[in-house]
């Protein structure tokens, strides 16, 4: 057991040595980490509550106050502090994004492993299912699913509905990726050897396949989470979020509906969008770098620059042999 632990530690250390030198990757990690920081330490980063109304010297609500009048990010149409909204909103956006992303990743990985490992009709069924799902337009489908579930008045928070719908619809790319990886792993010797000594399917999957496929799952999770965050923000913008627990998308929805644009209150709609970009960019940079490290690209192609090919010192013109 301890042997496996030391091996793991050494692998992580090696990974860190390579990753630490990768600038886009480190940038991505920083963006992500800072967003998490914002979400976790929200109450300490602002003296106000998201529902507090900012009032001026005369007790009047400061609606659409610019950052110059009320820092750092001004107020919205109801006089609430935008920075506070942003900081607390991070909790919602990130929470929904992570949980939905995780859900979709779990479903996708599970299906991908099963399809890749067992092949045959299981694989066929899965591939046809993903084909069907991929063709149907995703946002309209998500919208009508959320709309029809909500009108059932099941008493659950709209956020839960969002998480479930996103998680249940966005697993296809993960499933395909993991499946093809499992297919490659299956070809390797040790699977055949394990089968030869009578190991059962569950054992092989748990002990051999999953550890090999785990790095790819991790890399892919980061990308799926960013997709979930973007989808959630879009749905929230269209009004399907929880108004009592506004995410960044909901903030932009409010800004749009309540004429922040015509009122020139850019501090209301700009920061939440930037926050979404901040997090998504972080995830995408990190995810791409991780995937690149796992499936490195070819070093060069045939049409690269040839000016360095003949690198010898200049000689006189052709000499008769």
């Amino acid at each position: 057991m301890s042997e496996r632990w030391t091996l793991l530690k050494r692998n992580l250390l090696d990974f860190w040595k390579v990753f630490g030198r990768n600038r886009p990757g480190m940038l991505g990690a920083f963006l992500l980490a800072s967003s998490l920081f914002l979400a976790i330490f929200a109450p300490w980063l602002t003296p106000h509550k998201p529902t507090d109304t900012m009032r001026d010297a005369n007790g009047k609500a400061m609606t659409f106050a610019s950052p110059a009048e009320h820092g750092p990010l001004g107020t919205d149409d109801a006089g609430r502090d935008v920075w506070t909204g942003l900081v607390y909103g991070s909790r919602i956006s990130l929470m929904v994004g992570f949980v939905a992303g995780l859900l979709s990743m779990v479903i996708g990985s599970l299906l991908g492993i099963l399809a890749g490992y067992f092949g045959g009709w299981v694989d066929n069924l899965l591939m046809r299912a993903t084909d069907v799902l991929l063709v149907i337009p995703d946002i309209p489908l998500t919208l009508i699913l959320v709309a029809s579930v909500r009108q059932l008045n099941l008493g659950v928070s709209p956020l839960v509905i969002l998480i479930l719908v996103i998680g249940l619809l966005y697993w296809t790319s993960t499933a395909r990726l993991i499946r093809s990886q499992v297919l490659t792993i299956k070809e390797r010797q040790f699977v055949a050897r394990a089968r030869a000594i009578g190991a059962g399917h569950a054992h092989i999957i748990l002990k051999h396949i999953i550890p090999q496929v785990m790095p790819l799952i991790v890399a892919n999770t980061v990308l799926i989470v960013s997709t979930a965050i973007l989808v959630e923000s879009g749905l929230a913008f269209l009004g399907l979020g929880d108004p009592t627990q506004p995410s960044w998308g909901t903030m932009i929805n409010f800004a749009f509906d309540r004429n922040a644009i015509t009122n020139g209150a850019w501090w209301f709609y700009l920061p939440p969008g930037l926050a979404i970009v901040w997090v998504s960019l972080g995830c995408v940079l990190l995810g791409n770098v991780l995937e690149e490290m796992l499936n490195p690209r070819l070093a060069s192609h045939h049409l690269e620059d040839e000016s360095h090919m003949v690198a010898r010192p200049a000689t006189e013109s052709a000499v008769k042999g």
């Binding site: 070093a299 060069s300 045939h302 690269e304 620059d305 040839e306 000016s307 360095h308 090919m309 003949v310 690198a311 010898r312 010192p313 000689t315 013109s317 052709a318 000499v319 008769k320 042999g321």
Partner: protein
């Protein structure tokens, strides 16, 4: 083991001609992204006369393909030719611009790659691809080119009716023959063949080799054949260059090299051939690993694996020695002065006796 060389290589007219291709002191490096340098080739020299078939043999990684790629200046992005000359008809190809070099490609020297599925573009027909080569360099119009395509395919034994098919519709052997047809499209004087039969099964291998021999005889084509298969070399080559660790280990007419190998590596290679007359013998092999090209030893590169090494081998790199004189080869050679200089048998080994070779 003695190789039965069927024809006499020493008295044919081609031996008297001036070399078509002269490689002199060619050195090539590969530079990695981090700046590490691998010395893939060092001081490689040999000649190819018109109509001659030269074999380039060695194990994987010895530099034979790199040599060929350097000669046509088709190295990958990391390749650097650091010194030497490649004289084609007296003109140094390495001194040309890329534009000028393109004029030589296919027109003077063409190439046949290993029968990879993708050496031919899958979205164009075979006829279209051959025609492209003709129209690019030739002075023919389209209809003349079309006729020539049919001629070429006919020469390699592919039916005219199949000319408008796509590469994936051809078998492996057919694809290889199509590539040969394409290579001959502009009537080059030199053909490079990189492991042309390695990916084929034995029957097809024989066909393709036979084809190469025939074409060569008919067209007076010079061929440089890169392979690790000594048997193939024995069948169609006039001379052979044995490479090891990026350097020339031995070079000479095939009957001399095969029957009187001077370099220990060549000797072991030939010994490793199973002898059908002695089925019970243990297969010989060469222990050890090829040298790492970015951490080369100061002495002979074969020294760690050599069965005849002496003390000096580890510290001093052997020069090329002309071993022709020291051998009892009088029976196989005419004593005509003019020939001898172009039929040298050379080897890079401290054990060899003879004058140093200077190219």
């Amino acid at each position: 083991m003695t190789v039965d060389v069927h024809w006499s290589v020493t008295d044919t007219p081609k031996n008297h001609a001036a070399p078509l291709l002269s490689v002199r002191h060619l050195s090539t490096d590969f530079v990695s992204a981090e700046g590490k340098v691998a010395h893939a080739l060092e001081d490689v020299s040999f000649d190819v006369r018109p109509g001659e078939t030269l074999g380039l043999v060695g194990e994987s990684g010895c530099g034979k393909t790199t040599t060929m790629m350097s000669l046509m200046r088709l190295l990958p992005a990391a390749g650097r030719i650091t010194s030497g000359q490649v004289l084609f008809d007296g003109k140094d190809l390495l001194a040309l611009s890329e534009n000028q070099m393109r004029g030589y490609r296919w027109k003077e020297m063409a190439m046949v790659f290993q029968s990879a599925m993708n050496a031919l573009n899958p979205v164009y027909t075979v006829a279209e691809q051959i025609r492209e080569a003709i129209l690019l360099h030739g002075v023919m119009d389209r209809s003349a080119a079309d006729k020539r395509v049919e001629e070429l395919l006919d020469r390699v034994g592919i039916a005219k009716t199949r000319k408008n098919q796509y590469p994936h519709q051809y078998s492996g052997g057919m694809r290889q023959r199509a590539m040969i047809a394409m290579a001959l499209a502009c009537q080059p004087r030199l053909l490079f063949a990189d492991e042309p039969t390695t990916a084929l099964d034995v029957m097809v291998q024989a066909q393709v080799l036979e084809l190469l021999k025939t074409i060569q005889r008919e067209l007076g084509l010079a061929v440089v054949l890169v392979t690790h298969d000594l048997g193939v070399v024995a069948e169609i080559c006039d001379s052979v260059v044995v490479m090891y660790g990026g350097k020339v280990a031995e070079y000479g007419p095939i009957d001399l090299v095969y029957n009187h190998p001077q370099h220990p590596y060549t000797q072991r290679l030939l010994e490793a051939f199973p002898d059908l007359n002695k089925p019970g013998d243990v297969l010989a092999s060469i222990p050890g690993y090829p040298p790492r090209l970015n951490a080369l030893p100061p002495g002979c590169r074969f020294e760690p694996r050599c069965h005849r090494k002496i003390e000096i081998c580890a510290s001093v790199s052997p020069k090329l020695i002309d071993v022709s004189q020291a051998q009892e080869e009088g029976t196989l050679r005419g004593k005509k002065e003019g020939e001898l200089s172009s039929l040298r048998h050379v080897a890079a080994c401290h054990l060899c006796q003879g004058p140093e070779v200077t190219y």
